[in-house]
């Protein structure tokens, strides 16, 4: 029996996790919440060393040191633009760890049952073990695929092949059948096959998801890992794992729904949309239709003598590391008396809220960041909209063309402004791979070039006015 003080300590840790999540959902308390969660996690992991008679302690401590080193190094090195894939990676290894733990526990349970001659475990424990193995493996391989897509190790576009839905259904049914077998006739080989099936399901689940939908899937897999950890907590008889895992599972699912709603799609559509209408995907090619382009000097005059300017920043801005230059430009325009705001689409960047992080990195004042619903009415009174490295979030196809993959996504109404300036590297379409009609609008001017370089030229041109 676990001593009472240990149980109470775990209860305290569970409460800290609740408070940590609560803190993370408010801007003022977020950092404290995160640190509280970290402290609770460290305390919870230290407790077994105190009250259990653990073997192999030096090896365990060594493994923790290795994992900590890798984790800290990765977390410190990663660029803010690569944050989504980093979260995917951390999430995937967590799911993998949970699956391995469940496999070990299954082997342990089988050996105990062998030794005693009777099985002391009820069927529910075996069911939870099977669940942990499968879903942990799904999370691991699914996250690996999302990582590969975001890191551009493979195409970010949906990958669909004939028979994919059938393969997915077969793998799913086989996993259910073997889970039942785990309950009725527990054996280690069943667990291992379940893990392999889980890996296959994860890959098949994420392959058809493309473009801007990938981050939503990361959030979903995050919730999966949470539930996996919760089930693992039940298997190991650990309340703190159960509570922490369930919290993340529930909060993660809810967050996934929030993000999906911000993009105007359902989670089912995100996961399986590509399977239904494979031909609606964009061409992903550059167009040769005529556009109007201008140099930095012309655009500087446009901006410098405007009274109201709205900036629509996108992922391309952050990739070019041009946030600082942009902030300087906004400061200079502000000093000239031009009213400037940033319009932040909920999914600007690669993940909901990502653009806020990227602009905060460049110390853009928080008050200048306007959320979509607050600023959409103001585009009508705006002289110039400057779109930097964004594309899909201002694409009117989301409103007008039901065939487009982004149809139904709420967009920034940049097309309502008097003038639109697009800063682009090339005529290549955005993440969703579809052409943007706004580029060919008579009100639109294109300013070609690398975002950082061009913004620098624009900045000196405005200063010279």
């Amino acid at each position: 029996m676990t001593p009472t003080w240990v149980q109470l300590a775990y209860l305290a840790c569970a409460v800290c996790f609740i408070l940590a999540l609560k803190g993370l959902s408010g801007p003022r308390t977020a950092r404290a919440g995160n640190l509280l969660g970290a402290a609770a996690a460290v305390v919870a992991c230290a407790i077994p060393f105190v009250h259990l008679d653990l073997d192999h302690v030096p090896l365990i401590l060594g493994a923790i040191a290795v994992g900590t080193g890798v984790g800290v190094l990765g977390a410190r090195r990663v660029r803010m633009t690569q944050m989504p894939q980093m979260v995917a990676l951390f999430n995937g290894v967590g799911g993998g760890a949970a699956a391995l733990v469940a496999l070990l526990e299954l082997a342990h349970m089988i050996s105990v049952a062998d030794r005693l001659g009777v099985d002391p475990y009820n069927w529910f424990v075996y069911a939870a073990t099977a669940f942990t193995i499968v879903v942990g493996a799904v999370s691991f391989s699914g996250s690996a695929v999302t990582f590969a897509k975001l890191q551009e190790l493979m195409s970010a576009r949906p990958v669909v092949f004939p028979g994919l839905p059938i393969a997915f259904a077969v793998a799913l049914l086989a996993a259910v059948a073997l889970s039942v077998l785990t309950v009725t006739a527990p054996a280690l080989w069943v667990g291992i096959v379940l893990a392999v099936l889980g890996l296959a399901i994860g890959v098949l689940l994420v392959l058809p998801v493309g473009g801007a939908d990938v981050p939503i899937v990361i959030s979903l897999l995050n919730a999966f890992t949470g539930l996996t950890v919760a089930a693992g907590g039940y298997v190991l008889g650990s309340t703190v794992l159960l509570v922490a895992g369930t919290l993340v599972g529930a909060a993660g699912t809810f967050l996934t729904l929030l993000m999906a709603r911000a993009m105007g799609r359902s989670v089912a559509h995100i996961l399986f949309g590509a399977l239904r209408g494979g031909s609606t995907l964009g061409a992903g090619e550059a167009s040769d239709r005529p556009v109007r382009s201008a140099g930095p000097d012309d655009v500087a005059i446009l901006l410098g003598y405007a009274s109201r300017v709205i900036i629509v920043p996108g992922y391309g801005l952050a990739v070019a590391q041009a946030q600082h230059t942009l902030r300087e430009l906004v400061d200079v325009l502000g000093a000239r008396g031009v009213g400037v705001d940033y319009a932040i689409h909920p999914v600007a960047g690669r993940m909901p809220g990502h653009m806020n992080v990227l602009l905060a990195e460049a110390q853009v004042p928080y008050e200048q960041l306007k959320e979509m619903d607050d600023i959409n009415g103001e585009f009508v009174h705006t002289d110039v909209v400057l779109v930097v490295g964004a594309n899909d979030v201002v694409n009117p196809a989301a409103r007008t063309s039901p065939d487009a993959p982004i149809y139904g996504m709420p967009i920034l109404d940049a097309d309502h402004a008097r003038q639109i300036v697009f800063m682009k590297r090339s005529m290549r379409p955005g993440f969703a791979g579809i052409e943007n009609e706004l580029l060919f609008d008579p009100k639109t001017t294109l300013l070609f070039g690398d975002a950082k370089d061009t913004l620098g030229k624009l900045l000196s041109a405005v200063k010279a006015l």
């Binding site: 996790f17 609740i18 999540l21 993370l24 959902s25 801007p27 977020a30 950092r31 995160n34 969660g37 996690a41 919870a44 992991c45 077994p48 060393f49 192999h56 090896l59 365990i60 493994a63 923790i64 994992g67 900590t68 890798v70 984790g71 990765g74 977390a75 990663v78 803010m80 944050m83 989504p84 951390f90 967590g94 760890a97 949970a98 391995l100 070990l104 342990h108 009820n122 995050n222 890992t225 949470g226 996996t228 703190v240 794992l241 159960l242 509570v243 369930t246 919290l247 529930a250 909060a251 809810f254 967050l255 600082h324 993940m351 909901p352 809220g353 806020n356 992080v357 110390q363 008050e367």
Partner: protein, 106 residues
């Protein structure tokens, strides 16, 4: 109450708490929240430690150690990266702030 029902009760109540505590999050914080929640499920490290500490076959120990490394990456990396993100939100929000503030950590 039978034992599985006690666990089920904890589970169901935790679901409601999990939804309730984040229900008012603004979209600004979606990314750090996702990352912070991600770090919290790194608590599977606790399970990995317990299982490995009780293993007696070299193969089981090896698998357990791998699980510990993976779980530690999830937990520690998750909390550190979340803190790095939130640090940027909490720096003084003045336009005249240090111009090199964003580059020093790169």
């Amino acid at each position: 109450m039978s034992e599985p029902v006690v666990w089920l009760t904890i589970f169901v109540l935790s679901v409601f708490v999990g939804i309730e505590v984040i229900s008012k999050v603004s979209s600004t914080l979606h990314t750090p929240l996702m990352s912070g929640a991600n770090a919290i499920h790194g608590i599977i490290l606790l399970g990995a430690i317990v299982v490995t500490g009780g293993a007696d076959h070299w193969f089981a120990i090896t698998i357990g150690l791998i699980a510990i490394v993976l779980a530690a990456i999830n937990m520690v990396g998750g909390f550190v990266v979340t803190d790095r993100m939130l640090q940027m939100f909490s720096t003084p929000q003045r336009p005249a702030a240090r111009p090199d503030g964003g580059t020093e950590r790169r």
